[in-house]
């Protein structure tokens, strides 16, 4: 990492009480993100990627227990009071969720919802906010923005709602945007447009972005660095090109192999990963992937591998028997 990180997550854990016992959703995660960079967090459902993003924002469920630190611009968010967090969220850190209807208010007009965010955080009056709202909607690729201001979310398609949610997220010029599966609910042709919109605005504003997705295809083309999560932990982390060129963690390799490839002939059997992730309420002493892993040895089931220190390629992995040895 060059220069001080905009965001540094240190030993962050999230525990949730459940009827079946304590569930460790996020397990001792360390992350840094430099200003203007894009970090992809990839993993399957239940791996803790969404809970991690919520914990960064201090938006984890009230009953959750957090430990560790979240440093944003040098300030520890875990120590801020509610008022300081309110000033920060939406202003310096903004979020786009998978389902835009969870962030849009169904009974308020689009115009009201954009203006509200700006009037809350920026010292501008109503007419200036309305003018800026039109610009933001136009930048987000929404046709006839003046008319949209008077419309309600239900009058827009899913893709248009996501554009509105992005316009709102960008309205206060945040320094970090967290996009949590921003295109998962959208059709593939719309997905490409939304990902391009996010990439263009990120670059134009020199904003940092965390792109959370289950799709390795999305992180491949659109991030500087990737962190792979499994069972609450980061199991591999590297600059994107490096990761795809020489993945060290067998889970990452297996996840990539399990995706049907467009250039494979029909009826090619897929190298599936057998079994499924472990029950997060039953802590497992070894590597959580051990029982599904082709490289599993005795030690894997007994001792949890820690994330290695970054090597010369800034590559880290949590594995006792990494694949693709350096130099091969």
């Amino acid at each position: 990492m060059t220069g001080p990180a905009l965001l540094a997550v240190e030993q962050l854990s999230v525990d949730l009480p459940t009827p079946r016992g304590r569930l460790r959703a996020v397990d001792e995660v360390d992350l840094e993100l430099a200003a203007g960079h894009t970090l992809g967090i990839v993993g399957e459902s239940g791996c803790g990627k969404t809970m991690l993003s919520r914990a960064i924002l201090q938006l984890a469920p009230r009953r959750a227990r957090l430990s560790g630190r979240v440093l944003f611009d040098g300030r520890d968010l875990t120590r801020l009071d509610a008022e300081a967090l309110r000033r920060l969220r939406g202003r310096s850190i903004a979020v786009v969720f998978q389902d835009p209807m969870t962030s849009l208010n169904p009974v308020l007009t689009i115009g009201r919802q954009i203006s509200e965010t700006m009037r809350e955080h920026l010292a501008i009056d109503g007419s200036a906010a309305a003018r800026r709202a039109v610009e933001l909607l136009a930048e987000a690729g929404i046709p006839a923005p003046e008319q949209r201001l008077r419309q309600y979310p239900h009058q827009l398609s899913g893709g248009m709602r996501q554009r509105v949610a992005i316009a709102i997220a960008l309205s206060c010029e945040p320094r970090l945007l967290i996009a949590d599966e921003p295109t998962t609910a959208l059709d593939v042709t719309i997905q490409a447009q939304i990902l391009d919109l996010l990439a263009r605005e990120r670059q134009r504003r020199d904003m940092a972005m965390i792109l959370i997705t289950h799709d390795l295809g999305i992180v491949a083309g659109r991030t500087d660095e990737v962190a792979v999560m499994y069972a609450g932990r980061i199991v591999e982390r590297a600059p994107t090109a490096r990761l795809f060129k020489a993945m060290r963690m067998p889970y990452t390799e297996a996840l990539l192999a399990a995706i049907p490839k467009l250039d494979a002939p029909p009826h090619t059997p897929l190298p599936a990963i057998s079994g499924r992730p472990p029950d997060p309420t039953r802590p497992f002493p070894g590597c959580a992937f051990a029982l599904r892993c082709r490289c599993c040895a005795e030690r894997c089931a007994e001792q949890k591998p820690a994330l290695t220190p970054a090597d010369a390629y800034r590559h880290q992995y949590a594995c006792w028997h990494p694949i693709n040895p350096i130099g091969a």
Partner: protein, 320 residues
């Protein structure tokens, strides 16, 4: 044995919504040969699920006919239709929602046998066990349990066992793997391929994901706003799409390889509403090649190469 197992001709499905008409399926024709997998791809709202349901006579057709093994289904009474349905089964997207939460797995999987009036209790149980074993579940460990005790992937296995227990000839999979995680999805896709060989199935595989469709299909049909744009053998269609919509779909897929820079998305906007589809070619409002003829004359699906059909006035590959 000869001739297609399924023939669909000029099928039209429309729904009335608040005094207006949703044109869900508009004049669709295709065939599926015995033992073949036809992939049906399209984005949400294109009518692909309506088409699947119309084939199984689960929704009212406005016009057209569906022939299964040379029997015209649209004219059958309810009793003969029920007998035919045993030969056609359906798997849905949400495996958990498709299982009755209050019934045990053994009863759920036996249900199609009971409805079809097949065999006595003993024979039924034997077939349930065979079907569960075929999909990779241990009968003794699952028969007495309830759906909520299983993960999404396991529930989809149970749904597949339930569909296969009556030994159908046609299996319609409607987004059957879309709700599953990547690692589980690969397991279920492999399972469907195994089951296809083992039960000599013919498959209609409906999905929005082109890579997933390619993995299992012999031929692919691309649907847009209620109409088929293109039908052809899988490899040829993916290598050289003939319809501009197929090309757009293929370009939009994110490739898991950082060396492949994503092509800038084409600002083609969003699909129009099926309440008011455009005149002529329905894709023309998002198509770079559209001209006046596209608005005036509806392009019909016609042959451009052996086995390849396209409905476009300006196809991307030369007409033979």
């Amino acid at each position: 044995m000869d001739g297609p197992l399924l023939k669909v001709r000029n099928l039209i499905v429309e729904y009335a919504v608040g005094g207006r008409t949703v044109h869900a399926v508009s004049n669709v024709s295709f065939e599926i040969a015995r033992g073949e997998t036809l992939g049906l791809v399209g984005e949400s709202g294109c009518g692909k699920s309506s088409l699947g349901r119309a084939i199984l006579q689960m929704t009212t057709l406005k016009a057209g006919f569906v022939e299964f093994d040379n029997v015209e289904l649209t004219r059958l009474g309810s009793h003969p239709l029920r007998l035919m349905r045993r030969r056609m089964q359906l798997i849905f997207q949400d495996p958990i929602a498709s299982l009755n939460p209050r019934r045990r797995i053994g009863d759920i999987v036996a249900e199609p046998l009971r409805i079809a009036g097949i065999a006595g209790r003993g024979a039924r149980e034997r077939r349930v066990r065979d079907a569960l074993r075929a999909v990779g579940l241990e009968p003794d460990q699952v028969i007495g349990r309830l759906p909520h005790e299983f993960s999404g992937g396991q529930c989809q296995r149970i749904c597949i066992a339930r569909a296969l227990v009556v030994e159908p000839e046609l299996l319609v999979c409607d987004e059957a793997v879309s709700a599953l995680d990547v690692s589980i999805r690969a397991q279920i896709l492999n399972l469907l391929e195994e089951m296809k060989a083992r039960y000599r199935l013919t498959l209609l595989f409906i999905a929005h994901d082109l890579a997933v469709v390619k993995a299992v299909s012999d031929r692919v049909a691309v649907m847009y706003l209620g109409r088929l744009c293109e039908v052809g053998p899988t490899e040829a269609l993916y290598r050289a799409p003939a319809h501009p919509y197929t090309a757009l779909l293929l370009e939009a897929i994110p490739v898991p390889d950082p060396e492949v820079r994503p092509a800038p998305s084409v600002p083609v906007g969003e699909p129009p509403s099926p309440l008011a589809p455009p005149t002529g070619c329905r894709f023309r409002t998002r198509c770079a090649r559209a001209d006046r003829s596209c608005a005036e004359v509806t392009p019909e699906l016609s042959q451009i190469a052996p086995g390849r059909q396209v409905a476009c006035h300006h196809p991307l590959i030369a007409v033979h």
